[in-house]
């Protein structure tokens, strides 16, 4: 209970205010962006003065101000959604089906719907701003019999639907590219400079993303553009009075060129307006996201120790051990890494002894937490390696079995399937820890959740797509073995003969995704390594009481064991393949390279300790195997 209270303290006092500040800045930036948009959408080369007067008129008109207030409301909601949905540990879908599961997750779906709705609102504001033919949903027209009526303005409709489409696709892409993932930077900069540096990129991203969205939207509208008209006709058929009234209100003027034809859509001015409003929409949202990221990842300086007991839960050693919220833990680790590098006075507090008693509580708590983080990663890597090693054998075994069995059995070849087996066998195996952070988060793919949980008969997945495989993949099936040559052959046939839809989805395991998932939260480990190694280095000259010396053997052996596990992991296929860089997306792909960063940091951390202590390390009590390994580092042969 106490711990939740404390985490509330941080969320309430820091994160919320940071989010509020970021939203406030986003709202402040809205007027200039809107002004630019108004000028861009209204500009005509032939009448520049008229453009300016129109802009001025629009900005002072009631509808202009009202739509601006609406836009502010949208920004507020977007900012709130970021606060609600952000994560510091990305959710990595190991297969396409897991990704699909992520997309269809109710929470995401609600998010998409809200974005969709907000897209409509922004599009409406754009329509009001652009004026002319876009301004209203209906316009007066005369029927064939000369009776005056209101007709549906398809230009307005197409713009509103475009807003909905762009909003929806933005949120879908957000899930695919992990846009809610907030990454921390290795280079610290002031917020203003960071914003200034990122702004051109955001503009570029928004413009390109808008271009693609509008293209897709146009294609969709071309095929589905009849729908509004069908709806209209359906309304005619409905006997309800209200609807008929509505229907009577909006009549479609069929004499106008219909917009769902190729010729109708190839209207350059229409395309330009669609693109500019989509860019405007994405730009405002992306800037909100950018500001949120910048504000949330700002360094927070925790006190190392406090003289008042009521503040002790806000001190670094206490905060580090918190499990939730993750942002608190990450910021604490970041602060630890920075203080160990740059701040001699705060390091001195870390090495200090408690006043009555003379115990190095600060150092003990910090080193213990860092070591447990590193040990956790080591265990995870070892477990994964073991599973993959058995997977290679088991997979060929089972497929060999398939070939011989009269009825072919579908088998899912995702790494997740492997976990399912091991979980089914021993639910408390260390493997479950691999995905536990993801399970708590709402972004956890249902597939993964299903795999780590015991098979649930009531789950919607049961009995639909994969349940037969799970049932058939009982451990006894895997343990049977036959000749090896057959396995090779069968493997080939197994992978080539699949054509069913499910197989296409489940077979295409995204390469290296499991490796990425393994290191998804490695930023924490990187900081722990940096913090520990810098503190140990500083202890050489600053540690007056020798508090670090007692933990030096465990730190060294922990790092060496991790080094071994990481080395082994990088020998696996796909682990060392570099991910493709995607530059034109707002999604942060830092998590894709975290494993390389971890490997480099780990090596540097060990070298930092060996270089500082040199031959003194020979006096440290460690096992013979580790000493041998350490000797390699002392001789610079790693």
């Amino acid at each position: 209970m106490v711990s939740t209270e404390q985490s509330c303290w941080f969320i309430r006092k820091v994160i919320c205010w940071r989010a509020v500040a970021s939203i406030a800045w986003a709202v402040l930036l809205l007027p200039p962006i809107t002004l630019v948009f108004v000028i861009i959408s209204k500009f005509s080369f032939l009448h520049p003065i008229q453009t300016i007067s129109e802009c001025l008129y629009l900005l002072t008109s009631a509808s202009g101000i009202f739509s601006f207030i609406l836009l502010c409301g949208v920004i507020l909601i977007v900012g709130f959604l970021h606060l609600e949905y952000y994560t510091v540990i990305p959710t990595i879908a190991c297969s396409k089906i897991a990704l699909l599961g992520q997309l269809l997750h109710p929470r995401h779906f609600i998010n998409s719907l809200v974005h969709c709705f907000m897209g409509v609102i922004v599009a409406w504001c754009c329509a009001v701003t652009m004026g002319l033919r876009y301004e209203t949903l209906g316009y007066p027209c005369t029927e064939s019999d000369g009776h005056p009526q209101m007709c549906l303005n398809e230009y307005h409709l197409i713009l509103l639907l475009a807003g909905a489409f762009v909003g929806f696709s933005h949120s879908l892409l957000g899930v695919i590219y992990n846009m809610n993932y907030v990454s921390f930077h290795t280079v610290q900069q002031y917020k203003y400079l960071r914003f200034k540096r990122c702004l051109p990129l955001v503009v570029k991203c928004s413009a390109t993303q808008a271009l693609y969205s509008v293209r897709n939207y146009i294609v969709m509208y071309l095929f589905l553009g009849k729908c509004p008209f069908f709806m209209n006709k359906m309304l005619v058929a409905q006997p309800i009075h209200l609807l008929t009234a509505l229907n009577n209100f909006f009549q479609i003027d069929y004499s106008v060129h219909p917009l769902d034809s190729i010729a109708g859509l190839l209207d350059l001015s229409l395309l330009y307006h669609l693109w500019s409003s989509a860019t405007f929409l994405l730009l405002t949202w992306n800037i909100t996201l950018l500001l949120f990221r910048i504000f949330v990842t700002e360094v927070y300086s925790f006190p190392v120790q406090s003289s008042f007991t009521e503040d002790s839960h806000q001190c670094l050693p206490k905060v580090l051990t918190e499990k939730q919220p993750m942002i608190l833990k990450f910021l604490a680790l970041q602060d630890l890494a920075l203080l160990s590098q740059h701040s001699p006075s705060r390091r001195c507090e870390v090495f200090s002894l408690s006043q009555p008693g003379g115990h190095p509580h600060n150092w003990n708590a910090i080193s213990k937490e860092c070591l447990s983080l590193l040990t956790d990663l080591t265990q995870r890597l070892v477990a994964y390696h073991d599973t993959v090693a058995t997977n290679g054998r088991a997979k060929s075994l089972s497929s060999g079995k398939d070939l011989m069995s009269p009825r072919p059995v579908f088998l899912m070849k995702t790494p997740a399937s492997v976990f399912a087996r091991s979980v089914a066998g021993t639910p408390q195996s260390p493997l479950t820890s691999l995905f536990t952070p993801d399970l708590d988060s709402p972004f956890a793919s249902p597939a993964l959740r299903r795999l780590t949980a015991p098979v649930d008969q009531c789950s919607p997945w049961y009995g639909t797509v994969q349940s037969p495989h799970i049932m058939r993949r009982a451990p006894k099936l895997w343990s049977t073995s036959t000749g090896e040559v057959e396995f090779q052959k069968s493997n080939i046939s197994f992978s080539t003969h699949r054509s069913s839809n499910i197989q296409v989805l489940s077979n295409e395991v995204l390469p290296e995704a499991s490796s990425q998932a393994l290191f998804a939260d490695s930023q924490a480990h990187i900081w722990a390594l940096e913090g520990l190694s810098y503190l140990v280095q500083a202890s050489f000259s600053e540690d007056q009481f020798g508090v670090v010396q007692t933990t030096l053997p465990s730190i060294l052996s922990c790092m060496l064991v991790l080094q071994e596990a990481v080395d082994r992991h990088f020998k696996l296929p796909h682990a060392s393949s570099k991910p493709v860089r995607s530059t034109s997306s707002m999604g942060d792909s830092t998590y894709k390279t975290l494993r390389f960063a971890l490997r480099a940091t780990l090596k540097t951390a060990i070298y930092r300790i060996t270089t500082t202590f040199g031959d003194h390390l020979n006096a440290v009590q460690i096992s013979a195997e580790h000493r041998k390994r350490l000797q390699q580092f002392l001789e610079y042969k790693e």
Binding site: Y190, P344, Y636, K637
Partner: protein, 515 residues
């Protein structure tokens, strides 16, 4: 203030500097010196004739193939790929027979407009009009880089191995403890301007090339003499070429790169292959970088009369406008508190003192630079005739203990009596910072120093490695007793007690011994 007049006269021709011992530079005749040096495993000789140079450049290989006419689209695509927008415009303008007249006309106009704008830009920053080879030669720390056999040299910060970049664009790694000398070659490794080993790492070597930055991972235990190009990471950023200067952070986590063409300085996270551009208006590029050994500051000089000192905690910078020319070279004291630099067109060494503790934001930095040495031309009479020493400075290096400062003087290649020469100063920080004369380092007759670097952790004092114009690499040890504290390898940390903080009386005793 120290001046060259206080120096002992240069050696007569035929004599070479061997070492410093008992506060005196010892010299020897060339022949016996050579014998002695041949026996040393680290002294190398790369005769120009032994290098296989590129007989023809890549562009001229086009002539060897038959002319093949491609469609306009293919050519345009190729031009877009090779030359970007201007290449495409060029292609369209040149193939005016195939494209509509208005298109070729308009592209010609745009091209002319672009050229006009770039010439305007070039008149602001004249260095932008140089070709990339000339630019590297202009801004490199190596004297006469384009004609140099050894183009770059780097000691490993912790061990006795070093990397040598040669005129034929290959890099060789020498390690006295290993029989293999790996040769690194890569398709993109051209016109190497600088190499540097990553601190706190055994294997990573960063190479500044014409178009990109390469980070080689050379396994020290591997027996391979030709590591494959798969061992190299390629780091490139559009517009960031040629790279003339690189600097690893002393903690080994970040790599900085600079190009005179690009006003942004890149901070690379090498493992993630991502970069953070740091941009400031003015200067027209970044030509030289030097990271202070304690990691707290970075000197970044620009091609115009301006240099910046970055503070590495939050990456903010101080602007330092120079009066006369650009900052040519600079070096940091081991504790990162003092920066020595030279300005093109001036014959003095300036010093800046940073008193702030590392980690705290500095707003109380120095107000003006102080002149600490005057290197204006001085005539010495030797048995061979008068020799004029002094003038502009090519580069400065300071040994890792902060006791010896080597200055490479440009000289005048046309005049025989004004040779390029290395002047070595003794430095002391207490009670006031001052430079004291030590002597000149000279090589064989006819060999000019081109490049020099101090060994990062020489146990008995300082070891200056000099690359000569005749392809020879020699090592000149300076034996002196430093502080009594043991040496812990490279002082990569600001925390370690630095050897130069020794009792002042001891300094006085050792330095006045022979005066």
């Amino acid at each position: 203030m120290c001046s060259l007049a206080l120096f002992p006269p240069p050696l007569p021709s035929g004599q070479t500097t061997l070492c410093e011992s008992n506060n005196e530079l010892l010299s020897g005749a060339s022949t016996e010196d050579r014998l002695k040096q041949e026996s040393s495993p680290l002294s190398l000789h790369f005769p120009r004739e032994s290098l296989k140079l590129h007989s023809r450049t890549e562009s001229s290989s086009k002539a060897a193939f038959l002319d093949h006419s491609e469609t306009l689209w293919m050519r345009s695509a190729a031009a877009w790929r090779d030359g970007g927008f201007t290449g495409l415009l060029n292609e369209i303008t040149n193939s005016h027979t195939e494209v509509p007249k208005w298109l070729s006309m308009s592209s010609g106009c745009i091209l002319a407009l672009l050229r006009w704008v770039s010439s305007f830009h070039g008149s602001l920053f004249p260095h932008l009009t140089l070709s990339s080879e000339d630019m590297i030669a202009e801004f490199s720390q190596v004297l006469n880089w384009s004609d140099c056999v050894v183009r770059a040299f780097a000691w490993h910060p912790h061990t006795d191995k070093f990397a040598v970049a040669l005129l034929d664009d290959s890099i060789k790694i020498y390690n006295p403890k290993s029989a293999t000398t790996p040769t690194l070659k890569h398709r993109l490794q051209r016109s190497v301007a600088a190499v540097q080993w990553k601190p706190l790492c055994a294997s990573a070597l960063a190479v500044a090339c014409q178009n990109c930055l390469l980070v080689w991972h050379v396994d020290p235990c591997s027996l391979s003499t030709r590591p494959s190009s798969g061992c190299a990471q390629v780091l490139s950023h559009p517009g960031h070429s040629p790279v003339t200067s690189i600097a690893w952070s002393p903690s080994g986590s970040l790599l900085l790169s600079a190009s005179p063409m690009d006003s942004t300085m890149m901070v690379w996270d090498v493992a993630a292959e991502s970069c953070v551009p740091l941009q400031r208006v003015g200067g027209g590029g970044v030509s030289f970088l030097s990271w202070s050994p304690d990691g707290s500051h970075v000197l970044a000089s620009t091609p115009s009369a301006l240099f910046r000192v970055w503070e590495t905690r939050m990456w903010t910078c101080e602007r330092w406008p120079c009066v006369k020319g650009r900052c040519q070279s600079g070096c940091w004291s081991p504790d990162g508190s003092r920066l020595l630099f030279t300005v093109q067109g001036e014959m003095v060494i300036y010093a800046l003192t940073f008193t702030d503790a590392p980690g705290q934001l500095s707003h109380s930095g120095p107000q003006a630079a102080a002149v600490v040495a005057d290197l204006s031309e001085t005539t010495f009479s030797t048995p061979d005739g008068d020799i004029v020493v002094g003038g502009e400075i090519q580069s400065l290096v300071w040994d890792p203990r902060g006791e010896r400062l080597a200055v490479l003087l440009k000289g005048d290649p046309q005049a025989a009596d004004r040779p390029a020469i290395i002047a070595v100063f003794k430095t002391r920080a207490n009670p006031i910072f001052e430079l004291l004369p030590c002597g000149f380092v000279q090589g064989e007759a006819g060999a000019e120093p081109r490049l020099m670097q101090f060994h990062p952790n020489f146990q008995h004092g300082a070891l200056l490695t000099v690359c000569w114009s005749n392809g020879r690499i020699t090592h000149v040890p300076f034996y002196f007793v430093s502080a009594g504290v043991p040496h812990f390898g490279l002082s990569g940390s600001p925390l370690l007690p630095h050897p130069q903080q020794r009792p002042a009386d001891f300094v006085n005793q050792s330095q006045h011994h022979h005066l």
